[in-house]
Amino acid sequence: MIQIKYKKQLNNFILNVDFSVPEKGISVLFGPSGSGKSSVLNLISGLDENEGDLIESKLILNNRVIDDSDNSICIKPWLRNMAYVFQDHRLFPHINTKENILFGYKRSNSDLSPEDLIEKFKIKDLLDHFPSQLSGGQKQRVAIVRALLSQPELLMLDEPLSALDYQSRQELLPYIECIHKELNIPVIYVSHDIKEVLRLADYIVVMDKGVVIDQGDISDLCITQPLLTQEEGASFILQGIISKIIKEDKLVEVDCGEKILITAENMQLKQKIRILIHAREVSLCLSKPEDSSILNCIPVLIDELQADRNGTLRVMAKMGGQIVVLLISHRSADQLKVKKGKRMYAQFKATAIIK
């Protein structure tokens, strides 16, 4: 675990965080604007300035003590070997894209291939351009490549995709997902885009007003954590094994106790897979409708009913050993007489987020 503990006087409140994130995978720092996310990254990377305001600090990465106010340890930022993609890019204006991305690369023993990343991030055409000649999204891509190429022990990304369009995001997200797998670098990712968070996060730390209000695995938090569910509503994660590949329809059958169909490509038979489904996309019915366009309809056992926002009900149901979550209106709940212990059918389309 990476142990992170900081206490510091900020502008209008005290930042007081004490949390750990796994040394593997993507940990997302999530929270409203001004909650202190960037401040935490600044502290971790050792860039914080007003040392006078720092009350307490402790940072341990790979069993190496990096910050420790008790023992007056504070490794210099350039020795921390952490890369940081800033919210405001900070490309060097006097050198072109190529020199920018090679800046960290040249200063590390990085065994990554610049060509490879240049390709993946589609910046080949921009190599000769100076930062002032790049669009917002182009800057953001260049900044990510620059950070990656330094092959850090910890990669921090502060809303790295916020200036990118859907298409570019879709192209980059898989790559960001791979970073920690391929390069084995833990990633701390700051984002306020819930979709991005749900897709990328392995571990989530939720901040508000300078303190950590919640943290845990994505599979736990995605169901009920209010800030995470406010936009897309609750969601849940199913684990399974691919049991069939239906190439012509671009579908795969996943065995998660029950067999479900989801849209997916480039999968292998027997592959383990985790999928995230939004509760609002699941509906409930008493009998298996034979004449619906909805592909999945699986038997579930109603386990619990909880009040959700806007007068809807959050229904937790069991499907084998796994939990299915769905949202229905009070009206439907009444009509269908949904209650604990009842056997019903959960109906949902083939779209799901593959994690």
């Binding site: 990377s45 350039w78 800033f86 900070r90 006097h94 800046f103």
Partner: protein
């Protein structure tokens, strides 16, 4: 008749002085622009001080300091046998002290304007402060260096109060162009003074013109 020696001495003096000023002034300006030390303001003030003394007077005090039993002269005698006063080395020391603020101040100002955010970005990419300074701050301060170099160089070329006092006006050693022109004016040889002055002006204009043109290209690129 135009003599070459004073021109060469002048160019040599101005080049040496500017060079040394950059060597000393750059780290000093860098330190000043970054430190939180209480000494900062005091040192900034001390650097600017030689400016307010008339050059000849400064020269006089320097002469005292540089002479074998003066402060600098004594220190120097441990390093070298040749005395400082009336030597080219002494001249350079005098000019360096006198022109210091013209180099340090523009540098400091431009270092400060480059700003922390980019430096921080460089740190996270593994660049040490020195590395960052060299590869980020320095090139981004090109404009400041240009000002520092022009002011420092030109001021040394034009200066003659300190030079006269410390150097002793020895032909081919410490006799610089400014003194020669001055002497011509003094003995009413205005024609020669004009030649030298016009030559100096034209030469300086050409050099400045080229420098500023280069600078312009530089700026456009960024």
């Amino acid at each position: 008749m135009i003599e070459l020696a004073p021109i060469l001495v002048t160019l040599k003096l101005a080049s040496f002085t500017t060079f040394i000023l950059l060597i000393i002034g750059t780290p000093l300006a860098w330190w000043l622009s970054n430190t939180g030390s209480k000494l900062k303001v005091a040192i900034e003030s001390v650097v600017a001080l030689p400016l307010v003394l008339p050059p000849t007077v400064l020269g006089f005090y320097l002469l005292l300091a540089l002479s074998p039993d003066g402060f600098i002269g004594t220190v120097w005698s441990y390093i070298s046998d040749t005395p400082l006063s009336f030597s080219f080395t002494g001249l350079v020391i005098g000019s360096v002290i006198y022109s210091m603020p013209f180099v340090v101040q523009p540098l400091q100002a431009s270092f400060e304007m480059v700003g922390k955010p980019l430096q921080k970005a460089a740190y996270t990419l593994g660049a040490t402060p020195y590395d960052t300074f060299k590869n980020i701050v320095l090139p981004l301060s090109a404009r400041g260096f240009l000002v520092a170099i022009t002011l420092g160089f030109a001021h040394t070329v034009g200066e003659f109060g300190v030079v006269l006092m410390v150097g002793g006006n020895i032909p081919e050693v410490t006799q610089v162009l400014s003194i020669v022109i001055y002497d011509h004016v003094e003995v009413l040889e205005y024609a020669q003074a004009h030649y030298y002055s016009i030559g100096l002006l034209v030469f300086s204009f050409v050099v400045l013109y080229i420098t500023y043109s280069l600078n312009r290209k530089l700026m456009v690129r960024i």
